[in-house]
Amino acid sequence: MSCDWTEKISLLIDGELGPEETAALQKHLRDCADCRSAQADFLLLRREIGSYESELDPIAQQQALQNIFASERAAQPDFTSLKNQRVAPSLPSLRERLFGGPRLSPALMAGFALLLIGTIVGLAVYLNSRRTTQSIAVSAPSGANTSENIATPRPQSSVSPRESVAVEKGNREMRVPSNNSVDGRINTPVALAADRKNERKRLLSVGRNGVERANDVARTAVRQSAPDESLAPAEPSYVAVSNTAPYVRVFDPAVSGTAQQRTTRHVEQAQVLLRSFRNTRLAARGPATDIAYDKKRSQKLLYQNIVLRREASKTGDVPVEKLLSSLEPILLDIANLPDRPARDDVRSIKERMQRKNIVAMLQVNSTGASRSY
């Protein structure tokens, strides 16, 4: 059945033979029935294999493209600066932002937050200045107390000339009875400096946590001024993922779209993540596979999932709540994996995903929901 020239037939039908070799082979084909049969068979195989068609659903194809765009957008959280604003799909006009809708606008809320911070700072400065005034004006009842009230001067290197003069002055002139101090402490210059230092620390901590505190404060202000439960702060919340990870913007239910749209988007993103995780190759030996990217995405989706699940529970959407409840432990497990996890850890999560058939459940949910729009 085979001839020495058979291999050249394969090259001939692929156009990989030079002109001289082609001519020689054509001449051989005229005389060799085996080679003619081989040529016919190779061409038949080409027809069968080449005509194989995948039964692709056009909707599924479009969905795959949307999943790719959506997952990339979702996988780029804002780590760079806490000052970055959320990107809403469509920003309302200035008028709507200031006065429109049942929610208070970001501008008004930011105003509330600044007002409160200003009040706290002003109060601190006022209290501080009162303490200073009181400590200078009051005198001790007896000379015997003077020596007790004199603070031990700090080492020379840490005391500025002005402070050392003040200490000396205090030593000679200041008499401070303990019952005149504001908080029960003896108000010596060093104690005052310590007070100022503590106050500075307190104010700095307000500033450092300003974003989180401002949000909390703003939320409190909103709640106090408008008890309506539907009001929610439009600013996104920032939650520390870990001590080493930067703040991650948590999905805010009030930001954009209906609950159903948000859930659908979330389910699509979760689907993409789980598929990617399912396709992770585990090295038989050597260093473990790096899943840092999947882990990061899982962390983000986990917070989104918690928010949406609670929302579904609140609105009584039982099927969605159940779906998100099934999804949540898997997201949590992936998020908690080290960047280079052990084979067994990854395998056990994959097995659980398979037992729950979670990817299929997500796919059914997202296909059904997207078709209803």
Partner: protein, 177 residues
């Protein structure tokens, strides 16, 4: 949508069906093929479609897809998942005639069965040649092997399938099927 996204979308619409077809033949069925195809395009999108030289994206995507397919084959998870079976049962047929549909299904099954019998490297090379019409040089680039290996693999694949095909014809003829 940015212009890069538009270009990517056009490339996707163009190549996605072909890539799915290649992956189905590699994996011996539809199960997992679309997942891997989507993941491959996602990798391309992440890498940056425009960072690749002109015309290189197509070979890049097949290279990545094939690696994913190999992972899948190594895992041994080629059984069709329950959900896929359900979807397939409800998929509307594009053949008005049931007999036509049956024949098309049968032929698809025969092709898949024959390809499954080949070693993976021969299967990849043959599919890229017969379905994607890549040259030997291009196939060598995608698979990361030499041109002479591609040449040998394709010939051996064809020879093997030819022999099986003849054996099958003979067995049909003898049983009268």
């Amino acid at each position: 949508m940015t212009s890069e996204d538009e270009e990517f979308a056009m490339f996707f619409q163009d190549q996605y069906p072909n890539l799915c077809r290649f992956l189905e033949c590699m994996l011996g069925g539809r199960s997992g093929a679309q997942d891997i195809a989507q993941e491959s395009f996602m990798q391309l999108y992440r890498t940056g479609f425009r960072t690749l030289p002109e015309g290189e994206a197509r070979f890049w995507i097949y290279r990545v897809a094939r690696n994913f397919a190999l992972n899948e084959l190594n895992k041994g998870q080629t059984r069709q998942r329950l959900f896929d079976k359900v979807v397939e049962a409800f998929r509307p047929s594009k053949f008005p005639d049931p007999a036509e549909e049956f024949e098309a299904t049968e032929r698809r099954a025969i092709v898949l069965e024959m390809l499954k019998s080949l070693p993976e490297d021969q299967r990849s090379a043959l599919l890229l040649r017969e379905q994607e019409e890549m040259s030997y040089r291009e196939i060598a680039g995608v698979l990361g092997v030499s041109e002479s290996k591609v040449k040998v693999d394709i010939f051996r694949a064809r020879n093997t399938l030819r022999e099986r095909w003849h054996r099958k014809q003979k067995s049909y003829a003898s049983t009268g099927a």
